[in-house]
């Protein structure tokens, strides 16, 4: 964990540094914006449900961007939706993270050539931290993506810009 590597000097005292503490707190309670776009959202809901249980990683849905740390772009981003996604992202408070889930939001997916209405990758409007491939990705793949994001947050620095 990084936090508990440090020495115990008393029963109730853990010695650590602010950076590790903040990173640990952030990665352990990533509140996700409850928001889904297409078939990937079904897999995302399955990941949230009891069988795969997103909640054991501290991920739980929040219905407002103001209370969310993480937005999972789960599905096809149409041009019409892209403007709304950008606005939602801008409404989220820092620090904020983005998981792009599935081929459509990674790069346009099956709509890459003839999809006149599809944005070819959500990274054209917002910065993406982790890309999860698949069409749609299985819940295990999304969990792997989340673990990758946690790994990224764990190594963040307060003074150095990470991305």
């Amino acid at each position: 964990m990084g936090l508990l590597d440090k020495q115990f000097t008393d029963d109730n005292i853990v010695v650590t540094n602010v950076e590790d503490l903040f990173n640990w707190a952030r990665l352990s309670s990533l509140w996700q914006m409850s928001f889904g776009l297409a078939c990937c959202a079904i897999e995302m809901m399955a990941t949230s449900a009891s069988h795969y249980d997103f909640d054991r990683f501290g991920v739980m849905p929040r219905p407002s961007p103001r209370q969310a740390d993480l937005i999972i772009i789960s599905g096809t981003v149409t041009l019409k939706m892209a403007l709304r996604i950008k606005r939602l992202y801008e409404q989220m408070p820092d620090p904020k993270y983005v998981i792009s889930m599935g081929s459509c939001s990674n790069c346009g997916g099956p709509y890459w050539e003839h999809g006149y209405h599809v944005l070819k990758g959500v990274d054209r409007v917002i910065p993406v931290d982790v890309y999860v491939p698949g069409c749609p990705p299985r819940p295990e793949a999304l969990l792997e993506g989340l673990l990758k994001l946690q790994e990224k947050i764990r190594n963040e620095s307060m003074v150095k810009k990470s991305a």
């Binding site: 041009l79 790069c107 006149y116 209405h117 944005l119 070819k120 409007v125």
Partner: protein
């Protein structure tokens, strides 16, 4: 229950020249071609006549026939001049159990078709879709706006065969 031939004969007796042709012996179901500016009157008759009672519009879809003259314009893209756009109506009588398909065609440069909104209310969004994707103008429709594409989409109607996607929309790059 009436066959397509019987339905065609009833319409022909009531509307004469507005009923253009019955196409039958196709691999798909038979259809009747109707004048695009008479379609609303014909449909009202089809719905209310005691022998026909077509109470349900199962589907309404627009088609780009692409039967005009194809030319390559200066930018190397396809452009179609002349020809028609069509609308197909699949209707059913749930009381009498018969079905028929109607077709209207309208010139590509100014495609005007009368709306059947006031006859089958569920044609509302179907007509808006045909307007959005093919640019068919439904006369007397009360709210003919785009339904799928953004309201400020200026590049035209995407399902036309000579449609070309724009480079940018609201600052976002559109092509791959």
């Amino acid at each position: 229950m009436k066959s397509p031939e019987e339905i065609f004969q009833i319409l022909k007796n009531n509307f004469g020249d507005s009923i253009i042709e019955l196409k039958k012996d196709l691999p798909a179901e038979s259809f009747i071609i109707i004048n695009s500016l008479m379609i609303d009157k014909v449909c009202l008759f089809l719905r209310d006549d005691k022998e026909l009672l077509f109470d349900s519009l199962m589907n309404l879809s627009g088609v780009d026939d692409a039967n005009g003259q194809s030319i390559n314009d200066e930018e190397g893209g396809l452009k179609i001049i002349g020809g028609t756009l069509s609308v197909y109506y699949h209707i059913e009588s749930t009381k009498l159990g018969h079905k028929i398909c109607l077709k209207v065609s309208s010139p590509r440069e100014n495609p005007i078709v009368n709306s059947v909104y006031y006859i089958w209310r569920h044609s509302d969004w179907h007509e808006r879709e045909a307007f959005d994707l093919l640019g068919i103008k439904f006369q007397n429709h009360p709210d003919l706006r785009r339904i799928l594409m953004p309201y400020d989409w200026e590049a035209g109607h995407p399902l036309r065969k000579d449609y070309r996607n724009p480079e940018f929309y609201q600052g976002m790059k559109v092509p791959y």
